[in-house]
């Protein structure tokens, strides 16, 4: 029986806007009051795992871990200043040190997510806790396991949060992105989502917050795990910032 929930992740999980409308993590807290949310905007898995490494030995069958594994390239520079994630270097010397760190740990960073998800899988076997994972993307660089080892203790959702966020837009808006051609499509999509004045809590509408909660509940209760809703959001844009034809 699950007693505690611990959430790790980035802006898809950060509990800043909990009271604007019901959120997936708020719904989890309603059901499991011992819910702790470490989600932080801009955080990469490297940041999240600093906490997870400390928590790991204490986990047991009463724990549910919910992990948003974001981009492995989000390096948490200098552990003594964890809050300055992705900050610009303050000097040329610091920039050189950052480059040296990236060059030294280049492969560990590129393949970082595979090791992180492998450790989560091993943890689910050893600690007997339940682990639910959303990836930011489902490309190879994001996940090695994908959904191949899903079972009662370990679940990777087969839709990425990046896709879910994008697919919420009505089709006609997404179609406009495609007109730009494959090379520019992603950049235009990101720009459109960034410029959207219809603000979404954690990049998703209330309806998909509910879906996210139901996905986790489905995993825990051994019930159906619903898919994200598509075509449910229409953006509005300031024409000075973004031209939407």
């Amino acid at each position: 029986m699950i007693k505690r929930v611990t959430i790790y992740g980035d802006s898809f999980a950060e509990p800043l806007w909990e009271y604007e409308h019901p959120t997936w993590y708020g719904r989890l807290k309603d059901r499991w009051p011992e819910t702790v949310n470490y989600g932080k905007s801009g955080a990469g898995p490297m940041y999240s795992f600093k906490q997870f490494y400390q928590d790991l030995p204490k986990l047991n069958y009463e724990d549910l871990i919910v992990f948003v594994i974001s981009g492995p390239d989000r390096i948490c520079f200098n552990s003594e200043a964890a809050d300055q994630m992705r900050s610009a270097p303050r000097s040329k010397e610091e920039a050189m040190a950052m480059n040296f760190a990236v060059d030294t740990f280049h492969d560990e960073t590129i393949f970082g997510n595979w090791k992180y998800e492998s450790l989560l899988y091993a943890a689910s076997r050893i600690q007997k806790c339940k682990i639910f994972i959303w990836h930011l993307g489902m490309k190879e660089s994001h996940s090695y396991i994908k959904t191949s080892l899903n079972d009662d203790y370990f679940y990777v959702h087969n839709e990425s949060l990046g896709e879910a966020c994008s697919n919420e837009y009505v089709e006609e808006e997404r179609r406009e992105d495609k007109k730009e051609g494959a090379e520019k499509e992603e950049g235009r999509r990101e720009m459109r989502e960034y410029s959207d004045l219809h603000y979404r809590v954690n990049h998703l509408t209330e309806m998909n917050h509910e879906v996210m909660y139901k996905q986790i509940a489905g995993f825990v209760d051994d019930a159906e795990i619903p898919k994200f809703l598509k075509n449910v959001h229409k953006g509005s844009y300031n024409k000075d910032e973004f031209v939407y034809d």
Binding site: K50, E94, S118, I126
Partner: protein, 267 residues
């Protein structure tokens, strides 16, 4: 095919005389890694999992049920620091080994051990210049990735376990320090075997009247093991069943102790 990754416990250059040896090593028997027919041996003295995984990443997706990976997870703190092109050397004796740089937690920065410094007979000028120029960068890199380095064994063994699941190949793991392991032998099965005993301890425990935490100044044994424990290594890999290493059978007299407790020479 069998592929071997690891440090001096598997380094094939001890066998073929390429190693810049300080003392003659007993090579009158076949080391464990040459007893399995054709193998690819990527092991290299002094390296850590950081370097070994750079090798593994190149080919892990090619492994199938017909393959067997043997992986020695050595010290987390052996960082394969970046070497800019200007410091790359062809000459074996001047080539920089980035793992020679050590992080000292109580000092909070990296050090170049005295063994390699200017006045030492082991001094390598490129290594000294490289360290002088990049020392603050190394400290910064270490501090940035501190938790990742400290937990590298846990991540490494988990990823090796995952490779055995997804590629369906056999994986056999040895640890330089078993106390760094998270998995231990708890997930061992037909495809995955982790030998839950420190190779470092096994090597030291060969000596009669072993002086705890003291290591030979110059190694006289092939890959830090006597023939008897090369036999055990072979046996473990073939059977994938726990078998203890042989203890207390080597006279330590010819082995000069290292003057610094806790120092281990990986030359």
């Amino acid at each position: 095919m069998i592929d071997i990754y690891g440090d001096s416990f598997a380094d094939p250059t001890w066998r073929d005389g390429q190693r810049p040896s300080h003392a003659p090593v007993d090579t009158n028997f076949t080391p464990w890694y040459e007893r399995f027919g054709e193998v690819n041996n990527f092991a290299k003295s002094a390296v850590g999992p950081h370097y070994c995984f750079q090798e593994l990443y190149k080919r892990y997706k090619d492994y199938t049920k017909d393959d067997h990976i043997i992986f020695i997870i050595s010290g987390n703190d052996r960082i394969h620091f970046h070497i800019p092109k200007e410091f790359e050397r062809e000459d074996n004796y001047q080539r920089i080994c980035p793992e020679d740089i050590l992080w000292v937690e109580r000092k909070g920065h990296t050090i170049l051990p005295g063994l390699f410094q200017k006045n030492s007979k082991n001094a390598k000028i490129p290594l000294i210049k490289w360290y002088d120029k990049y020392r603050p960068h190394m400290d910064y890199a270490y501090r940035t990735f501190k938790e990742e380095i400290e937990n590298m064994t846990e991540k490494s063994e988990s990823f090796l376990y995952m490779i055995s699941r997804l590629q369906q190949c056999k994986v056999t793991v040895f640890l330089l320090h078993a106390n760094c392991s998270y998995m231990g032998d708890r997930l061992n099965d037909d495809l995955f075997y982790l030998h839950n005993y420190s190779l470092m301890d096994a090597s030291n425990e060969e000596f009669i009247e072993f002086d705890a935490n003291r290591f030979p100044r110059w190694e006289l044994r092939q890959n830090h093991f006597s023939r008897e424990n090369h036999d055990i290594m072979e046996d473990i890999i073939r059977t994938r069943i726990f078998k203890p290493f042989k203890k207390s059978f080597i006279d330590s007299t010819p082995f000069e102790h290292h003057e610094v407790p806790g120092s281990f020479i990986y030359d």
